[in-house]
């Protein structure tokens, strides 16, 4: 089994029409995931509308008169008429989003950015390591992999959350855990009393995760510090640097590589990323305040 170099996943998929013009989508519902995290469920305004996206891509979401932010798509890529975005309430725009009602209209620009190399990784073991809200941009990859499960080797999901109450998609996680063709290990940084699961950072789950490092591809998403230490553990286990993919985030004003805000060294996170292969990223991740 050979892991292809993943060149096609590095080409950003062009969005329709003028990429700076917001397209209207309707709010279907807003699902509260945890205390401060919610999922926005959007549907197209007209019958023919849809958004074909690849797992890992993001949209620029606009709340009328308030502002626009990039949010990864967290839904199922095989269902282009339902757009899901999971986000934390951290500022003016997300606060305004949280107040939206079904029927309200949001502006959507996208999909932008590079994708998790699900096609290129066929045949490999897949290790998905998610930290906190990092599970949201990874969920579409998992959906995609599970929809063609036969094409992959072992599939393992490692998930670290702050506390059990902060776990995203809890019911779905439990469903995944119950499957025979998927291994799910979760851990929390701090537990409530009564928690009988793992306590400790998600990196501690890596040494024992059941996958073959020589034929595995890892998809990692979470706070940058968590990703750095996760990569260390993965490399220690023998996963190749070119088989590790991270999803980064940076300040974005345009999402199409023209405003300059999202640069990390020579990389524009909006069009060379957000999914980036570790070996291309390694030097820049280690440079503080790069």
């Amino acid at each position: 089994m050979q892991i292809r170099s993943g060149s096609s996943q590095n080409i950003a998929m062009p969005a329709p029409a003028d990429p700076m013009l917001a397209q209207p989508w309707c709010v279907c519902r807003i699902v509260r995931e945890t205390d401060d995290t919610f999922t926005l469920e959007l549907k197209p305004q007209n019958r023919s509308g849809q958004m074909n996206f690849k797992p890992g891509q993001f949209n620029m979401l606009y709340v009328f008169g308030v502002g626009e932010i990039p949010i990864s798509i967290s839904g199922d890529p095989t269902q282009p008429r339902i757009l899901l975005h999971t986000t934390r309430e951290v500022g003016a725009v997300t606060r305004a989003m949280r107040q939206l009602k079904p029927g309200d209209v949001i502006g959507v620009r996208g999909p932008f950015g590079t994708a998790w190399p699900v096609d290129e990784s066929e045949g490999a073991d897949i290790l998905i390591v998610a930290g906190g809200i990092g599970l949201a941009p990874l969920r579409p990859a998992l959906y995609r992999i599970l929809s063609r499960r036969d094409l992959y080797g072992r599939v393992v999901l490692l998930y670290g959350a702050r506390t059990p109450a902060d776990m995203l998609y809890r019911r779905e996680l439990e469903g995944w855990r119950a499957r025979f063709d998927l291994e799910v290990y979760a851990t929390v940084d701090r537990a409530m009393s009564g928690w009988r699961g793992n306590v400790g950072v998600v990196t501690t789950l890596i040494p024992r995760a059941p996958f073959d490092p020589s034929s595995a591809v890892a998809f990692v998403c979470g706070p940058e510090v968590m990703m750095r230490f996760t990569v260390d553990e993965l490399l220690k286990r023998g996963v190749q640097p070119h088989a590790i993919y991270l999803s980064l985030e940076r300040n974005m004003k345009c999402g199409i590589g023209l405003c300059g805000h999202c640069q990390l060294g020579p990389l524009f996170v909006c069009k060379d990323g957000p999914v980036l292969r570790y070996d291309k990223l390694a030097d820049w991740l280690q440079k503080w305040e790069a």
Binding site: I11, A22, L258, H261, A290
Partner: protein, 386 residues
């Protein structure tokens, strides 16, 4: 299309100073709005020219790190200066632009983008460095995965008359960046101004058929050998007089491996992060967007405007800015211009125009900063306990 130096003898013409206004007339007759250098607010700026009389004849600039002064020349040269705080980018990449407007309606809201007004500009007096800068921004805005319709629309139909520099400014270093002083591409016409005690003329070469066609409307004749030699000598002289130098060999790798060089601390102690350099730089292109709405909440708009990586908010994500220190922001700008730009667009981002050196209020000189790093390549910062 472009005329290399050795072909000058065969394709150059001479326009006498007295006939120079005909050039502008011809442009106007061809429905171009002529933009060129003018004096305003104590500097040479680029603005609409009603006639050749508005050119800063007999003026020159004194430029040094952190200093810009206009001085009178002993002659009446029309182009006896180099570059002021303006660059040509403002005509194609406006400082502010309305991207779209939206109105609330029964189905949510309706978004409409204003039509981008096409223009027909003739740029008069474009220096070689600025020609490179325009071309660099073409590769940023028109040749990437996504292109900017404002840039591409405003750029169409632009007539370019380049002017070869015969006297480098003190802060110029185009020879080091291989962008001048001779204009070698990207122009319809290129002029070299020759001012002698008893004669004042322009040696002109056409770079396009459009340029040749315009020349036909202006009194001119084939250049003589001695006139060509004069122009060549002036250009060679300009090369020799360039006092600021920068060694660009291995520059990208140098900056990559000196990410923690103590010089960054030294420049951070001086830099005010005022963003002047990014405003005057002819290749800086970063923008931000401002989402606004009116008091009623029924009308919204998105306005794009120039931004600078020197601002604290530029790299802000939840929790804080990625580049919180001035040190990191200065380093980001310099590394972008001289290193990462190469990986992104295939050329340096800097064209050696010297504007950032002149217009820095504390006189930071990029060539001096880089040279300091070159001379102490690999030095590790001393671990001091402050």
């Amino acid at each position: 299309m472009s005329a290399a130096g050795s072909n000058l003898t065969t394709s150059t013409v001479v326009i006498e100073r007295a006939d120079f206004p005909c050039l502008l007339d011809a442009l106007k007759t061809s429905r171009y709005k002529v933009i060129g250098p003018k004096l305003a607010n104590g500097a040479v700026v680029y603005d609409e020219l009603a006639s050749a009389a508005e050119l800063p004849a007999g003026w020159t600039e004194e430029q040094r790190p952190g200093l810009y002064r206009l001085n009178r020349r002993p002659d009446e040269a029309l182009f006896g200066y180099t570059v002021g705080p303006d660059s040509w980018k403002k005509f194609f990449h406006p400082a502010t632009a309305v991207l779209w407007q939206a109105t609330k309606n029964a189905n949510g809201f309706n978004v409409s983008a204003p039509a981008i007004q096409t223009q027909r500009l003739a740029l008069l007096g474009v220096r070689a460095c600025d020609l490179h800068a325009i071309s660099i921004l073409d590769s940023v805005f028109a040749q990437g995965t996504f292109s900017d319709p404002i840039w591409t629309t405003l750029r169409k139909n632009t007539f370019v008359i380049a002017v070869n520099c015969v006297e480098p400014g003190n802060t110029c270093f185009c020879t080091s960046m291989k962008t001048g002083p001779r204009a070698s591409f990207g122009f319809d016409l290129a002029l070299t101004e020759v001012v002698e005690p008893d004669r004042h003329y322009f040696v002109v070469v056409a770079g396009t058929n459009r340029g040749t066609a315009l020349l036909d409307k202006v009194p001119h004749r084939a250049a003589r050998q001695d006139e060509n030699d004069c122009a060549e000598a002036l250009l060679a002289n300009a090369v020799n007089k360039m006092s600021r130098k920068l060694d660009t060999a291995g520059l990208k790798e140098l900056l990559y491996r000196n990410h923690e060089h103590p010089r960054w601390d030294s420049v951070a102690a001086r830099c005010l992060s005022c963003a002047n350099c990014t405003m005057v730089c002819p290749t800086c292109f970063c923008t931000t967007v401002d989402d606004t709405s009116d008091l009623s909440g029924r009308q919204a708009a998105r306005v794009r405007g120039w931004d600078s990586c020197f601002t604290l908010g530029f790299s802000f994500i939840h929790g804080g800015s990625v580049r919180a220190s001035v040190r990191a922001r200065y380093r980001q700008w310099l590394t972008h211009k001289f290193a990462t730009w190469l990986e992104q667009f295939g050329t340096f981002g800097c064209v050696g125009c010297g504007r950032c050196i002149t217009w820095c209020p504390v006189g930071i000189d990029v060539t001096e900063e880089i040279e300091a790093i070159q001379q102490t390549d690999g030095i590790k910062p001393r671990k001091e306990v402050k």
